[in-house]
Amino acid sequence: MRELGRLQVVWIGLVLAGLLVAFAVLAPRSFPTSFNLLNLVSDAAILLLLATGMTFVIITAGIDLSVGGVLVFSAVVAAKVIEGTGSLVLGAVGALVTGLAWGVVNGVLVALGRIPALIVTLGTLGMSLGGALLLTGGVDLRAPAELNLGLGLDRWLGVPQIVWICAAITAVLALALARTRFGRHTYAIGSNAEAARRGGVAVRRHLIKVYGLAGLLAGLAGHLSLAKYGITGVSAHSTDNLQAIAAVVIGGTSLFGGAGTVAGTVIGVFIPVVLQNGFQILGVRPFWQQVVVGAVLVAAVYVDQWRRRARDR
């Protein structure tokens, strides 16, 4: 599968390259500018974290609908901690721990409770969003200026720090999935959980780790989102889960588990983002954008799929 995975990433990557070239030709003075591309990457960076976590979860044949809620909850915790203690570091730690905790709750309910992941994470989505609203009283909290103007704006070699952080983490996790025992067990569980169990893989413990990882990444995403946008965004993340899942699937990961790559997910994150950015620059009207993005999305995956007709699910 990993061989196939690699091949597939090449194909869907070509689709993305094609889109980039097309927009560069259509809008040579606006689209392929470093200003625009950098903004594009920086807007996609946080979603990338969520989608990377989601890749692991989906490869185990699971799903995590709670990421948006966990993100918001973690951002709220970070904002509260910073407000309370004045320490940015403690705020970040708070967000990470919170995210991890939610992830572990998901993992425990899925692995030990044997409840379908969709239900578990739908439940924790409601709980985390509701919890965030309870903590804030329904009003967005704001990040302190040090965070918003510091981590949120700082650049390194001209690229925002947030992008560096997300890129580094994604790269590490891509390697972890492809080359380590942790990744191997992730594939094994998604491919055949019973065979993995019989082979001595600690399936339950591993699932808890995978959902914990997804939660941890959502927590980090919450902190970074707080830094970048300066607010907790309690109403803004209800479609994050679908966006992340779509990115993972566009990237060639099967919803039935056992196959997929982080590299594919990266491309899957950028295809919709590039489409939207390109169409906005071309001045396509919003309603048409929805239609065209939908159509191009299907076409892009079709081009990819078309190369590997032979394979059935």
Binding site: L26, A27, P28, R29, S30, F31, T33, F35, N36, N39, L40, D43, L133, G138, V139, D140, R142, N148, G152, L153, S225, Y229, G230, I231, G233, V234, S235, A236, H237, S238, T239, V273, Q276, N277, Q280, I281, L282, G283, V284, R285, P286, F287
Partner: protein
Amino acid sequence: GQGGEAGGDGQIRITLVQGLAGEEFYETMACGARAKAKELGVTLDVQGPQKFDPTLQTPIVNSVVASKPSAMLIAPTDVKAMIAPLTQAKQQDIKIILVDTVVEDQSIGLSRISTDNLKGGAAAAKALSEQVGGKGKVLVISTDPGVSTVDARIKGFEEEVKANHRGIAYLGVQYSHNDVTEASKIVNAALAKDSDLAGVFATNLNSATGAGSALQQAGKLGQVKMVGFDAGPAQVKQLKDGVVQALIAQLPGDIGAKGVEQAVAAVRGQQVTPSIPTDATIVTAQNVDQPEVQKVLYKAGC
């Protein structure tokens, strides 16, 4: 489509970034802006996020800035979060006009044409209080918590009720997640719990629709008074059908037109007006046909 690359040759290009694409308020604003743009012979593009949210509006602002229009009309979705992307826009020499909402940084926005949702909420409280005769239980149905414009309406409503309408028992807010079915369920449960419910303030169209449907099914239409927000064709129909008894109208078309005027003036280096406030009007079945009220109703499909 070609407009995206046509800048710089004297042609003025303006982009309107809505707070929420596909909402009647902002679509009416776009209509007003388009009409004025046509009149002044400038190009107007319209963009907007799927949700009223800065994290979704920021990428759009970035794309718009990349396409380098002469001016940008924007309804910022957050007073703070939109400062950073708008500062970037300002640095690219794009003239920025704030419409409907504002940001905290006073240096952003050559002109600010704003609606006061707080006042709108207070007007809703007055109207509802009048409809229910100053006493009884009232409920607010909103979309999602955290949407700043809507939160301001609720805040204005609550403050007005607490300050000036002692006879009214305020039951609090329920959230419909902008879903008519949810709004209907909420009113059903509210009626099951408090059969003597007197009034409902629905902060947006979908909430009013769902609530109206529930009242209709329960045969309580007209008995339980409802005040809605905005005055698009759908809302006016609801008013005329007796689903709602009053509407709070803002002036989105006007805001759009004025925004374009100010933007063109700014690009041409003419005088701009830094601040233009607009007001909220209470529309009822009695006054809806009067010409001055007709003027404030939103126009769809331009």
